[in-house]
């Protein structure tokens, strides 16, 4: 039998049992659709997270106190990073261009007696803006001349909320931060955050000089130091130098992570995440496949007579088997094609409402075509084999 006559015969049988064909199609469409949607959304989310790193550059390192107590000396490990040690990094590590230590403080922010919810304060240095690639909307950023001073720079969301509260001129306005009054010196542009590099909410934070925080809150600890590598040095050498440097300080155990390592880590996690989503989608794919198998089995038992006649006319087992196999493969390929469209559409809708950048994952489409034909062959094989193994005499006698 030629390929063309196989496809023709399969299409004819599928068309003759329209209702059943449509039901099987729905099953496989949902299956492929959910795999495509899940994998696409996974890919879109990973790309979205990676965007931040691309924006900040790969020459950034983060330094933190190491909470893993190697050697078991609890007291020694619990000493916080000293501000002077942090600021002296560029002087002792030739590969480091600049550092920006920061302190997170939980403090209520209020303007004209009204609370601005969801905000917190960050103690920073002048270099912080540069390293985090901040843009200034108006005014200026915190300067090292603000040492111990009560000036602050606010993130864009705080600015918007103050405007809602009726503030007309922001620069020079006064806000209350905890128990102290601060004068606003500048406003930041809207900045994306919440990822692995900017581990704070850039738009919901008020930035004040780190020395001011240290003085107002005695127990404040430097949570993270962001460091930038010199253009002609490698992040790896900067990492090594910083580690060596801290061994001579009161905080000998620090973790220094390069952007590269962070990206690697994140990509590993994202791959796992995408895999998990794909696995969830695969469950419905299996259900769809079983649906195809069920319908093919019904079709075989319904067409026993036809199989008997074909065998009497000279069809080989192989011919009967491929006739049924073609049917299930056509079924799953058509279902797969519809599923791909639905899956891509679904991921478009999700990314549209989440304001993520939409993109079509060609890997997902390739996967969809491959998986749907595999499903067709896998779940169609058993019914097709059963059809081909029928005894022609018995098949001819059946009604």
């Amino acid at each position: 039998m030629t390929l063309k006559s196989h496809i023709k015969a399969a299409a004819r049988s599928l068309y003759a049992a329209k209702q059943r064909t449509i039901l099987a199609l729905i099953g496989i469409t949902i299956g492929i659709g959910s795999v495509i949607a899940m994998v696409s959304i996974g890919t879109i989310v990973s790309e979205e997270a990676l965007k931040q790193f691309k924006e900040m550059g790969t020459d950034i390192l983060t330094v933190r106190k190491d909470y893993r107590f190697e050697g078991g000396d609890f007291q020694k490990a619990d000493v916080p990073i000293q501000l002077n040690d942090a600021l002296n990094i560029p002087a002792y590590c030739p590969a480091v261009l600049a550092v920006a230590p920061y302190v997170k403080v939980e403090a209520e922010i209020s303007y004209t007696g009204k609370k601005i919810s969801g905000s917190s304060a960050l103690g920073v240095t002048q270099s912080f803006s540069n390293l985090n690639k901040f843009g200034i909307e108006s005014g200026r950023f915190i300067s090292d001349l603000d040492k111990y001073g009560h000036f602050c720079v606010i993130g864009n969301s705080i600015y918007q909320k103050m405007k809602e509260l009726g503030a007309s001129s922001i620069i020079g306005a006064k806000i209350k931060l905890g128990e102290s009054i601060f004068t606003i010196a500048g406003v930041l542009k809207k900045t994306s955050g919440g990822g692995l590099m900017r581990q704070f909410e850039p738009n919901e934070s008020a930035y004040i000089h780190i020395t001011t925080v240290m003085r107002l809150k005695g127990n404040a600890e430097i949570s993270t130091i962001t460091a930038q590598t010199k253009p002609d040095s490698s992040p790896r050498s900067a990492q090594k130098q910083i580690k060596e440097y801290f061994k001579k300080t009161k905080t000998p155990n620090v973790r220094v992570v390069t952007a590269e390592e962070l990206i690697e880590n994140m990509q590993k996690q994202m791959r796992l995440f995408t895999l998990l989503l794909g696995a969830i989608g695969s469950i419905s794919l299996i259900v769809g496949g079983v649906g195809i198998m069920n319908i093919m089995l019904v079709s075989v038992s319904e067409r026993r007579k036809e199989i008997g006649i074909s065998r009497a006319l000279g069809a080989r087992r192989k011919d009967i088997q491929s006739e049924f196999l073609f049917e299930s493969v056509i079924l799953s390929l058509v279902g797969g094609a519809i599923g791909i469209v639905i899956g891509v559409l679904l991921s478009f809708i999700v990314s549209y409402f989440s304001k993520w950048e939409f993109m079509v994952s060609y890997m997902a489409i390739f996967l969809g075509v491959f998986v749907s034909s595999a499903v067709g062959i896998f779940f169609g094989f058993y019914p097709a084999r059963q059809a081909s193994m029928l005894d022609p005499i018995v098949a001819l006698r059946s009604e």
Binding site: M1, S13, A16, A312, L313, A315, R316, D319
Partner: protein
Amino acid sequence: MLKLADIKKTYKIGPTEMEVLKGVNLEIAQGELLSIMGQSGCGKSTLMNIIGLLDKPTSGSYFIEGREVSYTDDDALSDIRNRKVGFVFQQYNLLPKLTALDNVGRPLIYRGEDEDSIKQKAIEFLTKVDMHERARHRPSELSGGQQQRVAIARALVGKPAIILADEPTGALDTRVGQEIMNLFKRLNQEEGITVVIITHDLNIAKQCERFVIMKDGVLLDK
């Protein structure tokens, strides 16, 4: 051209063995019109299945055109069936989804012939049985006699060595049955086609130039 030598067929039903064919010897010459007659249960159908290569004998030899065929593998049997045997059934057994034309062309599809030549041959053989005007009709749109004509065209299309008709008039009334019989006779006389008709109807059997009677698993030549 066809030769059956001491063909035996035994069925096992549980522990008991039932011998349906007890040594059948039969020779069919090219261009013969032969009928095999017998009561139901005498082994006619089993013999037909063996002649038609749908079943294998338990012992004995079966030659088609001098070639022993009874013990070849399934694929080879399908191929011989396709090229050497044309079936005509009591219930016509046309494929309901296909038009008369596509039904007639069906055996050639398994030979991998191209569509145009299949179509051309199908029309040629539909014309031979006077059904070319109904080529586009489906079996459900045809009468019993018309369906049987299409089935005969399907049996002829592959130019087989033998036409094997199992009670071809059994589902038709006497008049239409006689028309089908006349068609067989005409094909046999004009085209020299070998026809074997299996029947329990003496009237049909008598119209053939030679008829044999089957009784209790053996053939009695008349």
